[in-house]
């Protein structure tokens, strides 16, 4: 492979691209539309879980149990009691993706009985504003009820049960946080797949491959320059997606160099796969069909718009045979969980797949006829 040839072809690809308004729209504007659309649809639901996790340090005293039952009866926040210490509670909530938690302090029953003001601690996650609102409303209401009915029969006494709020210790991930790696994956899949399948068949039909076969450019060089172009495009698209996700929806992502391998290997895989699909097909119509059959399941089931872990078990198993799953999972691992070892395995899967598909594509796509 000659770098000069790849560079020359890369210039042609980029010029062709920049002079095509539709292509530009899809790589530069469409990501913002996607992020906005899905962000708006799903951001209202936050994490989707408003379970109120409770640590009862008053050791299930009758009054504390009564208080929790009252909370549960509001049906706004189903109560779930866990046994962790109050010190670890905040980080426990964060690690387990809970956005709200409540601590009932030791001596709750005693203090209330003796009219000594007592404070509950309500943990909320400001990112999940709606669930925080629900939980705070419920706790406020039940505390007021206790102050009025159960404790202070005389109207003059000051309220006994109060609460103060604290924030959930570590990051709780919102839908938008998952959405960014998911949609970057979506772009890595769709942009090269759709255009390469089309290019593979239309360049053959129009005789452009024939034209190129008469030059010293090799098929491997040609495919490499396309891959490099889509890598460059992926970097731009990802930057736009991250930018609009953070700016419009306050998404939290960790920008690490760990992302880079996925932004390179992802396009490497899908440009090669698109070329392979387009080469196997005899006509542009059948090429488009093959492309769609490969692309559509991955578009929805690899963790693009919906987390794989939230899908039924059968679909989860299916997702694990989809190459895009490993790209998106890998990006989630580096951008959200900082789990390098799992990301490395994901990367390895995609890389090996890419090499195989690249070699197959080179072999099966023909410049000239027999």
């Amino acid at each position: 492979m000659k770098l000069r040839n790849i560079a020359a072809d890369f210039r042609i690809v980029s010029r062709t691209y920049f002079r095509n308004p539709v292509a530009l729209f899809f790589s530069l504007i469409f990501p913002i539309i996607l992020i906005s659309m899905f962000g708006l649809i799903f951001s209202a639901t936050g994490t989707g879980s408003v379970t109120l996790v409770v640590v009862n340090e008053d050791h299930n005293s009758p009054l504390s149990v009564e208080f929790l039952a009252a909370l549960n009866n509001t049906s706004v926040v189903p109560v779930q009691v866990v046994s962790v210490t109050a010190q670890n509670f905040s980080s426990y909530l964060g690690q387990n993706d809970y956005s709200t938690g409540l601590v009932i302090p030791a001596g709750f029953q005693n203090d209330v009985a003796n009219r000594i003001p007592v404070n509950l601690t309500l943990y909320t996650n400001p990112e999940a504003a709606s669930s925080a609102g629900f939980a705070e409303g419920a706790v406020q209401g039940v505390a007021a009820y206790f102050n009025l009915q159960a404790v202070c029969a005389q109207k003059t006494c000051p309220p006994v049960v109060g609460y103060h709020t604290a924030f959930v210790g570590s990051q709780v991930y919102k839908y938008i946080d998952y959405l960014i790696p998911g949609l970057i994956g979506f772009a890595i899949l769709t942009s090269p797949m759709f255009s390469m399948v089309d290019i593979a068949s239309s360049y053959r039909k129009d005789g452009i491959f024939r034209e190129l076969s008469l030059t010293p450019l090799t098929r491997a060089e040609w495919l490499t320059s396309r891959i490099l172009w889509y890598v460059a495009l992926t970097f731009v698209t990802s930057a736009i997606m991250i930018g609009s996700g953070v700016y419009l929806f306050g998404a939290h992502v960790t920008l690490t160099t760990g992302m880079i391998p996925f932004l390179v290997v992802g396009p490497f895989f899908f440009v090669s796969l698109g070329m392979l699909a387009g080469s196997v097909a005899k006509t542009p119509e059948s090429a488009a069909l093959i492309g769609n059959i490969i692309t559509f399941p991955m578009m929805f089931l690899s963790g693009t718009f919906f987390q794989v872990s939230s899908m039924p078990a059968g679909l989860q198993a299916f997702a694990r045979i989809l190459p895009l799953y490993y790209v998106i999972d890998g990006m989630n691992q580096v951008m959200l969980y900082s789990n390098a070892s799992r990301a490395f395995i994901d990367l390895l899967v995609v890389l090996i797949g890419s090499i195989v598909v690249f070699l197959l594509a080179i072999r099966l796509f023909k410049w000239r006829d027999e």
Partner: protein, 310 residues
């Protein structure tokens, strides 16, 4: 120097159909060779085999001493090809395309000079999809010259072009020959071949049915020259009686076959001596097109007969 192109016993079969059926010809370097034939005769198949774009079934093919299929990479550095209906990336201009090819071939050609050569300088910065048919062909021609080729293959370069554009392409082809390049030209415009080609081969149904210079082919396969005057059947009868010439009357024209260039003078003298009225004398000679139509027509008749058609 040995031949630029040498073909011996070339066969290309698709299943049981022989698209090219055992042809042979030689193209000397620095000449224009024109390959003629009706549509589907096997022109493009042969051309693509020579260019290394298609694999042959049988036979020997040498282009610049190389086997086009197995030594295609080396060959492609030394030939230039303009396919029938040249296509390129829609959004790329001729200048950019030449720069692209220049980088690929590693040559140092000047794009503006090349575009000047094919008379396309004014469209140097216009994108492919905005060019007319003739301009696109010139674009292809310029691109095919980027690597300073020894042989230029032009597959029907003027098909579908207006007369002006065709003449411009012809000028370029003449220039290629002047520069010492070999030109392999397929066309179905017979006048084009007659004007430009040193050697012509006519292919029909995969077989070469005539070969040689245009003059040789006309000589061999054409009808003799004829002289005709406008006159009456009486004049024709007079010529038959006095000269023993086979004079034919058709549409008020009396025509006589000329077997020798002295004949014309003899006949004219006899006509004048007859005292009969006559006007407007012309001589006609078969063109390559007449020969082509007759030869291909004969092949068609033969084919019909052998298939047992009425």
């Amino acid at each position: 120097m040995s031949a630029a192109i040498e073909v011996e016993g070339l066969v290309k079969r698709y299943g049981s159909l022989a698209a090219v059926d055992g042809i042979r010809f030689t193209v000397p370097p620095g000449t224009v060779f024109s390959f003629l034939g009706p549509n589907g005769a096997g022109k493009t198949t042969t051309t693509e085999i020579l260019e290394g774009l298609r694999r042959r079934t049988e036979g020997e093919v040498q282009v610049l001493g190389l086997d086009p299929w197995t030594e295609g990479t080396e060959l492609h550095r030394r030939i230039g090809v303009i396919p029938q209906d040249f296509r390129f990336f829609d959004k790329i201009t001729p200048k950019e395309a030449i720069e692209y090819y220049r980088a690929l071939f590693g040559t140092k050609v000047d794009p503006s000079h090349l575009l000047e050569q094919v008379a396309l300088s004014d469209k140097a910065n216009s994108r492919y999809d905005t060019l007319s048919g003739g301009q696109k062909q010139k674009f292809g021609l310029a691109l095919a010259l980027t690597n300073d080729p020894e042989i230029c293959f032009l597959d029907e370069p003027t098909t579908g072009l207006d007369p002006q554009a065709r003449r411009a392409i012809w000028a370029v082809i003449r220039n290629l020959k002047r520069e010492g390049r070999t030109v392999f030209l397929t066309t179905h415009y017979l006048e084009e071949a007659e004007l430009l080609a040193d050697q012509v081969a006519i292919i029909d149904r995969g077989k070469i049915i005539a070969a040689g210079s245009p003059a040789q082919i006309i000589e061999k396969h054409g009808q003799p020259a004829r002289m005709s005057v406008e006159g009456s059947p009486v004049l024709a009868e007079y010529l038959r009686m006095n000269l023993g010439a086979a004079a034919v009357v058709e549409d008020g024209k009396v025509s006589v076959t000329l077997s020798d260039k002295g004949d014309a003078l003899k006949i004219l003298t006899a006509i004048e001596a007859s005292g009969l009225p006559w006007t407007s004398f012309t001589t006609t000679k078969d063109t390559l097109e007449d020969v082509f139509v007759r030869l291909v027509g004969q092949m068609d008749e033969g084919a019909l007969k052998s298939q047992g058609a009425p």
